[in-house]
Symmetry: C2
Subunit: 351 residues, 2 copies
């Protein structure tokens, strides 16, 4: 990835995987080496991480993302989580950073990334950088993506880094082909050899996914026959995603009892919804978590499927949902969300 | 699979997987529920099983296949292995049967299958039936394939059964698409629900693999447009495989110091080679296991790549290799094997 980062990659340190998920599960399995071993994961987080930790008998060490500053990653919050874990006898082995964020759509800047690398140095953590949304950027000039590989290389940091990427996101969205890879930096040759042995048990990743990865890392270049069309289509997709995200964030944020960070990246918005006491009681009566109750009602009324915040984790007493911004016809779509929410507020109030 | 077995299948009890390997790994992970838990595996065996057991901290409980009766599965040998394991504090949880066999190419008959089902009943074992070679049959009239699903259904046995299948074998051989499935019989709904939850972490199996599975389980039927061509091609492939296997088995068996079971199924022969003291000393001097030493010399001399028997497990002091029977030009191929072996015997003798 010298084109992306300005630093070369060693092909022997790159593993092709059955989607990024396969790689994440594999690495978590590798890192959980004792019943006390834990991995730091952001809250809210894509639940793959908690699921893999549960599967491999690892301990999830949660750290909270900061909604009040655009879902930023707080070094202090991670430090606190480390201290708390250590007190409880848990050994933090790795730090998961999802950048751009899922479900938050947040994006790290380089200054923050440097701090996070230093933090990993200090606590001997393996950095697991989930960068599958690196090409879904809505405001590239003000909010560019920088890979952790680049930051670690520039700082000449010795921290072990695993960078994940996938063909499921970007503008390709070839989820069903199950293609992805992870790149290892600062991982010793004997560990690489061991990893190679273990992945070999699973035979190859799907050939169609491997072809997808090849297309992903080697897109058409200016002057090549397919470049113009590729560029035109890719730019149009990026522009549409950015515009939809912006429209939805603004309109949702204006609703009573809703606040929504206007995310600069990924495919999602993660609006917070205040749910009144009356709504919470109705949810309880229905045997549902309040944001699940809201999401199911939204689905019934509009056909729009969102994922309740409780599936990703959130601060105690807060409620969110994750909205995917891939739908065409954003006016009609956001109109339905508004109409539903206003009727909800009419029924349950906001207090 | 009512067409195959005469008994219906419940689609909710079938899981699509990333090749049979993905399913095997998943099930072994599910069955290993304590540090004492073990799984009975045949020796020789496709090393996926030992690898998955190592990965999931399970104990391999080996039982020997009987080369003297065409690599048949001996119920007594399994009984012995169970008793030995129990004495050592190991808890047998499942029995792996590879039918047709890999690397042996053996095929079970229904009478033996019934005994094995009874054995699982007696010892409360989950039967893991690896049936990925069910369509690679060389003598269908005398050696038909019967699924364990059929035997268990007919006996109305309560044993939990997992049947694995794949698009990597048969005549399709679409290994790279990573498609397979496993079918659960006599598995309770709550366990199925739990399995469904766990597999959901890995998202879907590759779409191209899923399409492959659809083609596998619903081949063209008489009267359909593609039937004639499909039937012609499929029959030709089966006939070629059967003929090659037969030719190679006969010719290898005639060589000095080689005996070879003429396997009725799968893609393999697993000839035994007697290696002289002189050959064993030469192997030791080269720092190689004797059958690895033989296989590497064969590769160097002929370009033919076989897998040493030590990779699959074999009786102490015996040596084998696994030969794949997919090559066209069998005359030339077997001629090279003969020429190499005769030169080897000239050099090292047979005693």
């Amino acid at each position: 990835m010298i084109e992306r980062d300005g630093y070369p990659s060693n092909p022997n340190h790159i593993f092709l995987t059955t989607g990024a998920s396969g790689g994440v599960s594999f690495l978590i399995n590798m890192l959980i080496n004792s019943p006390e071993a834990g991995i730091l994961i952001p809250i809210p987080q894509y639940p793959l991480y908690t699921a893999c930790l549960a599967q491999h008998s690892g301990i999830a060490i949660p750290y909270l993302l900061d909604e009040s500053s655009e879902w930023s990653t707080s070094v202090e919050s991670i430090e606190e989580a480390i201290q708390k874990a250590k007190k409880e006898g848990v050994v933090p082995r790795g730090l998961v950073i999802i950048n751009p964020g899922n479900p938050t759509g947040a994006l790290l800047d380089e200054a923050k990334q440097e701090k996070l690398v230093k933090l990993c140095e200090e606590h001997s953590l393996v950095l697991l950088a989930d960068e599958v949304y690196q090409d879904n950027l809505h405001r590239r000039k003000t909010h560019p993506f920088t890979s952790f590989k680049k930051v670690v290389s520039r700082l000449q940091s010795p921290i072990p880094l695993i960078s994940f990427h996938s063909i499921s996101k970007g503008v390709t969205g070839e989820c069903g082909r199950r293609g992805g890879y992870f790149e290892c930096s600062n991982i010793s040759d004997d560990v690489i050899a061991f990893m190679y042995k273990v992945v070999s048990v699973s035979l190859c990743s799907p050939v169609s996914g491997q072809i997808g990865v090849d297309c992903l890392v080697r897109p058409p270049k200016p002057g090549q026959e397919s470049y113009e069309l590729w560029k035109k289509e890719t730019d149009a997709l990026h522009a549409a995603l950015a515009s939809r995200t912006h429209t939805m964030a603004e309109r949702l944020d204006r609703l009573p009892g809703v606040s929504c960070v206007n995310s600069p990246a990924a495919l999602y918005l993660f609006p917070q919804i205040k749910l009144s006491k009356k709504a919470q009681e109705a949810a309880e009566a229905a045997g549902k978590v309040p944001d699940v109750f809201y999401s199911l009602a939204l689905l019934d009324a509009t056909g729009i499927c969102v994922v309740p915040g409780s599936g990703f984790g959130q601060k105690e007493g807060e409620w969110h949902y994750r909205l995917t911004c891939l739908c065409p016809g954003v006016e009609e779509y956001v109109g339905k969300l508004e109409k539903f929410h206003l009727a909800w507020v009419e029924k349950y109030g906001t207090g």
